[in-house]
Symmetry: C2
C-alpha cells in the first residue's frame, strides 16, 4: 500500500501522527521559504507544508520540480493548522512533510482540474481521464454507483432475480435500427446487439422465473439527438401472474426507495393520468407536474367572433403564466419568436394580460369583450397578475406547440426546481400509432404489448382508438421508464403482427421462437424498463446524462478519447467474409 | 395479482384459509373419483385435490381437460393431508379446489420437466425456456444471482465503485480475435466489443477513481472449446496506489466472503506458490491441491542404469497414486491407454507397485534394485499400498502429460470433492511466452503487465526468464481469475510494445490514448478479473458453466433457441456500406 491514510480523512484526532499519503498535486503555493501543496485523491484534499526551517534541503529542491497533477507520495507529521479552513473536511490540519517521492510526473493538463473548468466539451471528452478527476464528474459516477446498488438491493429484497441475457442475439428490424455483429464461424450471418432484452425477459417468464430484473446495456443505431447515446443502460424488469396494478405498485416502491435512500426525500403521491388526459391537459405524454399552467380549451368561447386567427381552427387553447401580466413588449416578442422557431413552427401567439388591478388587456380587444376574456381566464385558471397565452390550429400540433411554450416559460420562471420530485404515471397509451413514412401502423410501445381486452373489438373498426395496457413513469417532465402487460398467447401475438404489417413468414422468421414458447404454458406477464442514465441524472438534479456516464460518445457516435470507431485490418474483414462497398 | 400465495409457502398454519394459487401443472394423478394435481411455480409445489364429493361437476369436467404444463389459477381451501410428505415444504397440506381457471394451455413438452430429464443437450437448448423450469437450472440461475449480489455488496463495502465502461470500443487485434460492429454513421469504420475493459479500467485509475469494479460482459471470437462461450461475464477490478500484496489480500477477502455467505464454508488458507513451483510440483499452473500426488523428480536416480525409456531424457518424473498398489493389469493398461491418447501423446508409462507388505514390483525390475526403487518411493512420497507412475521425456511436455494423468487418477479415485474448497495463489508468472506460429514473444497475461523491477535487465539477455507481477487465483484446479500490477509510465509501455513486435506506429495507433494518459499523472495501479461463470459453477459444486448461464450458445456460437446468428436484410447491409464476399 502506498499510503496509510487517504487525503480525505485526517483531522485533529490524527495530530502528531506520522502518516503516508499519495495523490495528485492540485495546487502549489510557493512563498520561497514556505511551500504549500494541496494533495488530492478520490477522497479529498489534504494540505502539505514544506519550509526552510523544518524541511531538509534535498526535499525542498525536489518540491521545486513538482507541477500540477504530478503523482507524489509523502511521509510526514500531522500538525494543527494556524489558519483553519472550515470548508474542507481536513481543514484543521496539514502535514509537515519529511519525505517526498515523485511517483509519476505530468504534462501540464489541457484544462484546469477544478470544479469549474476552462475546458470545452470536445477537449474534456478527449481527455476524459482528466475530466473525471474533477469533483462534478467523479461525484456523478459515484452517485450512479449508489443508485445502481440501491436498485439491486431493493429489487432483490422484493424477490426479483437478476438474470443476464445474451448480448449476441438476432436482428429484428422492427423498431429502431440494430447494431449488427458479423459472425466468423457462421459466414454471411450476423448477430445483433439487443435494443432491449424484451423477448428474453418474456421467455424467462415462460420459463417460470416469475420476477426478473437486470441492469443491462442496450444498443440503438439511431441518428443521435442531443443527450442520446448509442449504448445506454436500462433497469429491465418483468413479472408473471400480475396485473398492471401490481407493476405500478412495485415500481412506485422502487422509486420511493431511491428518493428516500439517495436523496432523503419522501414522496407519497404517484398520481395517475391517462395518456388522453395528459395530452389534453399538458399537450405532452410526459408532463412536468411540479408546476401548474394546465391547458384550458377556448374553442367554443373564442370562435365566431370574427377573429381570423381563431376562427375555423380545430382547437383554441391557452395557458396562464403566473405573475407575468406586466411582461414588456420585448418579453412577449421573445415568446412569439420562441414559438415561431422552426422546431416549434407556430404561426401566432395571442396574449391577454390579466393585470393585478383586474384589468384585461390584449391585442384582440376589438373582437372580445372584457366579460368574454374573463371567461377565458376562468378556463385557464388565470389569476390577477397572470399572462394568458393562447394558440390555435390543428389539435395535436397546437397542443405540442403550447406544451413547448409551457416548458420554456417554466424554465424562465424558475419553476423546474431540481430538488423537487413529482413523479406521475401516464397510463392507457394507444396501442398503435400511424406512421406516415411507411404508411402503416407501428406499435406505440412494442409489438408484444397487450391491447386492453375491452378494446380488442375496436382493432377492426378504429385501430387508433385501441388502448394498450401500457404505462410510463414520468418524473419532472422526463419519461424515466415505461412498460406494458404483454400478450401471452400465440393467436393474439399473430394477430398483432398482422396489424403491424408483418407477413406470416416474416413474423415466424423473426419471432417464431417467442410464439412457439407461448404454446408451452406461458403465464400472464408484464414488465417495465427504466432508463438508468436518465433516472440517475434526474435524481442527481441534472438534465444532462453526459456526466453520469464514464465514457460517453459524442453526437456522431464517436469515442473521441480512444478514437473509435476506426478502420480494421484487411485480415479481419477477410475472416468475416466481408467487403467494404466502394 | 393472480394469487394470494405462492406454491412454496402453505403449511398447516394456513389450514382452513381460502387461498388463490397460480402455476404450472407438474403432475396429474387421476383416480376417477379423485384427482390430485401437483401445481408448480418458482417457489415450490403445492398439491391440489378435486373429488366427486366436494368438487362441483363443471370444475371436475374442466380438470379432465388439463395436461402437463398447463397454466392454471385455482381458488380453494387449505386442508390437512392424510398422508403427509415430509420431503416437500408444503407436504403437510393440500388445497381442496373450489374454482379452477385455465390461464393458458400447453402442448406436450418435448422432454420431462423434472430434476432428471430425458431431454438431450440440443433439445434442452432449443427449448431453453422449458429447461429453465427444471429445478437444477432454475436453482443455478438463482444461485448465480446470489453470488453476483454478494460480490457487489462486498466490493462496495470495501470502497469499490462499480463503473460501467463502454461496449462499443476500438478493435485492437493483439490477443484473441475481436467481435466487430460496423458503424453506419462512420462508414468503413468499426467498433469492437471488449475482450475485457482493460484499458478503460486503467484509464479510470489515471482518472483517480482509486477502486473500480464491474460485473461486465466480455467477448472473444475464438473457436469454441467445450464449455467456452463467445460472451462471458467477468468480475473486473482495478486499484490504485497499491502493491501486489494489497490486491491478493482484497480478493482473498472477497473469496472468503463468498464461501462463507454462499456455502457457509470458512477457508483460512490461501497458500501461495510461484509459477515455477506449480509447474515443477504439479505440471500445471492451476493445480488442484485438494489432494496430494505431488511430482517427484527421479532423473538423477533413474538414469544410467541401462533402461532405454529413461536414459538420455531431459526429465524422469513420477507420482504416487494412493492405495492403488493392487491395481490389476486391466487397470494399469487403461492408464497406459489414457496417456497414449492423442490429446496427451505420451509414449510410455512405468509402474512400480509398492505393496502393503513393503514389496516393490515393477516391469523394470531387471534395471533397478529394490533399494533403488525404495529411493524412488521416497522422492514421490509413496507409502505402502501406493502405485508409483513414472514418465520420461522433454521436461515441459512430460510434466504436462503427468499432470493430465494426475487429474485423471484423482477423478477416478474420487479425490475431487466438490464440497471441499482449496484456493491457491499462483504468483510470479513469466512476462512473456514464445509463440511458435508468429515466431515472436506474446504477453503471457497482457501487454500492460509490469515486469518485476529486478528482472527488467533480463529482458535484453533472457526474455523468457523475466517474471511479471502477475498472479492467478486457482480454486480446485480451475483458474478462476488473474491479474497483474500494470505498467504506468509511457516509456516502459513503449518498450513492452517493442518487445511484443509492435512497430511504434502500430503501438501509437492502437494504444496511443493509453500512453498519452500515462503522461498526465498515472498512479501506480493493478488489478484482477475473476471469471464469474466459472466461479459460480465451482461454488455451486459443478464443473460445467452451462447451467449457470440463462441462454448459452452452443459450440458453433449459435443460439439454437432464437436461431442466431442469422441473415440480415440487404437494406441493413446497404446502410452499413458492406457486401458479403462471394
Amino acid at each position: 500500500m502506498f499510503r496509510t491514510h487517504t487525503c480525505g480523512e485526517l483531522s485533529l484526532a490524527n495530530k502528531s501522527q506520522i502518516v503516508t499519503l499519495a495523490g495528485w498535486v492540485q495546487k502549489i503555493r510557493d512563498k520561497g521559504f514556505m511551500v504549500w501543496i494541496d494533495l488530492r485523491d478520490r477522497y479529498g484534499i489534504t494540505q502539505l507544508i514544506f519550509d526552510t526551517e523544518r524541511t531538509d534541503a534535498k526535499t525542498l529542491e525536489l518540491v521545486k520540480t513538482l507541477g500540477r497533477e504530478f503523482v507524489i507520495q509523502i511521509v510526514g507529521e500531522v500538525i494543527e493548522r494556524e489558519a483553519k479552513n472550515d470548508t474542507m473536511a481536513t481543514g484543521s490540519v496539514e502535514v509537515l512533510v519529511q519525505k517526498l517521492t515523485i511517483l509519476n510526473s505530468s504534462k501540464v493538463p489541457p484544462f484546469t482540474i477544478e470544479n469549474n473548468t476552462d475546458g470545452g466539451e470536445e477537449l474534456r471528452m478527449k481527455y476524459r481521464y482528466l475530466d473525471i478527476r474533477r469533483n462534478p464528474v467523479k461525484n456523478s459516477l459515484i452517485f450512479r454507483h449508489k443508485v445502481a446498488q440501491e436498485v439491486r438491493l431493493y429489487l432483490s429484497g422484493e424477490g426479483f432475480i437478476e438474470i443476464e441475457t445474451p448480448y449476441l442475439i438476432k436482428s429484428t428490424p422492427e423498431g429502431a435500427r440494430d447494431f449488427v455483429v458479423p459472425s466468423r464461424m457462421n459466414q454471411g450471418q450476423f448477430y445483433a446487439l439487443p435494443q432491449s432484452p424484451q423477448t428474453f425477459k418474456q421467455l424467462l417468464m415462460v420459463a417460470g422465473m416469475d420476477k426478473y430484473f437486470q441492469l443491462v446495456k442496450c444498443f440503438r443505431d439511431e441518428d443521435l439527438r442531443a443527450d442520446r447515446q448509442p449504448e445506454f443502460t436500462q433497469i429491465d424488469c418483468e413479472m408473471a401472474f400480475i396485473e398492471q396494478e401490481d407493476i405500478l405498485n412495485t415500481f412506485e416502491g422502487l422509486t420511493k426507495h431511491l428518493l428516500k435512500a439517495i436523496r432523503n426525500i419522501e414522496v407519497h403521491q404517484f398520481p395517475r393520468m391517462t395518456y388522453n388526459e395528459a395530452m389534453k391537459t399538458y399537450g405532452n405524454d410526459k408532463p412536468d407536474i411540479r408546476f401548474g399552467m394546465k391547458f384550458g380549451e377556448l374553442t367554443d368561447l373564442a370562435q365566431g367572433k370574427g377573429f381570423g386567427v381563431f376562427d375555423g381552427q380545430e382547437l383554441v387553447v391557452g395557458i396562464a403564466a403566473p405573475g407575468c401580466s406586466e411582461y414588456s413588449r420585448k418579453q412577449t416578442d421573445a415568446l412569439v419568436d420562441f414559438v415561431k422557431r422552426s422546431q416549434i413552427g407556430a404561426k401566432a401567439l395571442i396574449f391577454v394580460k390579466y393585470g393585478l388591478d383586474g384589468s384585461l388587456k390584449s391585442s384582440v380587444d376589438k373582437f372580445f369583450t372584457e366579460a368574454e376574456l374573463l371567461k377565458w381566464a376562468e378556463r385557464l385558471g388565470a389569476h390577477k397578475g397572470d399572462l394568458m397565452l393562447i394558440m390555435a390550429g390543428a389539435a395535436d400540433t397546437t397542443r405540442g406547440q403550447l406544451s413547448a411554450l409551457r416548458m420554456h416559460l417554466a424554465e424562465t420562471l424558475g419553476l423546474r426546481n431540481p430538488d423537487v420530485f413529482a413523479p406521475l404515471w401516464v397510463v392507457d397509451f394507444p396501442l398503435l400509432e400511424w406512421d406516415e413514412e411507411s404508411n402503416r401502423f407501428h406499435a406505440m410501445h412494442h409489438p408484444f404489448t397487450s391491447p386492453k381486452p375491452e378494446d380488442i373489438e375496436l382493432l377492426k373498426t378504429n385501430p387508433k382508438a385501441v388502448r394498450a395496457n401500457a404505462y410510463d413513469m414520468v418524473l419532472n417532465g422526463n419519461e424515466i421508464g415505461g412498460g406494458s402487460i404483454r400478450i401471452h398467447d400465440k393467436e393474439t401475438q399473430k394477430m398483432m403482427f398482422n396489424y403491424l404489417g408483418f407477413t406470416p413468414e416474416q413474423a415466424e422468421n423473426q419471432f417464431g421462437f417467442l410464439m412457439n414458447a407461448f404454446e408451452y404454458g406461458a403465464p400472464p406477464h408484464g414488465g417495465l424498463a427504466f432508463g438508468l442514465d436518465r433516472l440517475v441524472a434526474i435524481l442527481g438534479g441534472q438534465e444532462s446524462i453526459r456526466d453520469f456516464i464514464a465514457f460517453p460518445k459524442n453526437n456522431s457516435g464517436r469515442d473521441v478519447m480512444i478514437d473509435a470507431p476506426s478502420k480494421i485490418d484487411q485480415i479481419q474483414l477477410d475472416e468475416l467474409h466481408l467487403e467494404l462497398k466502394k
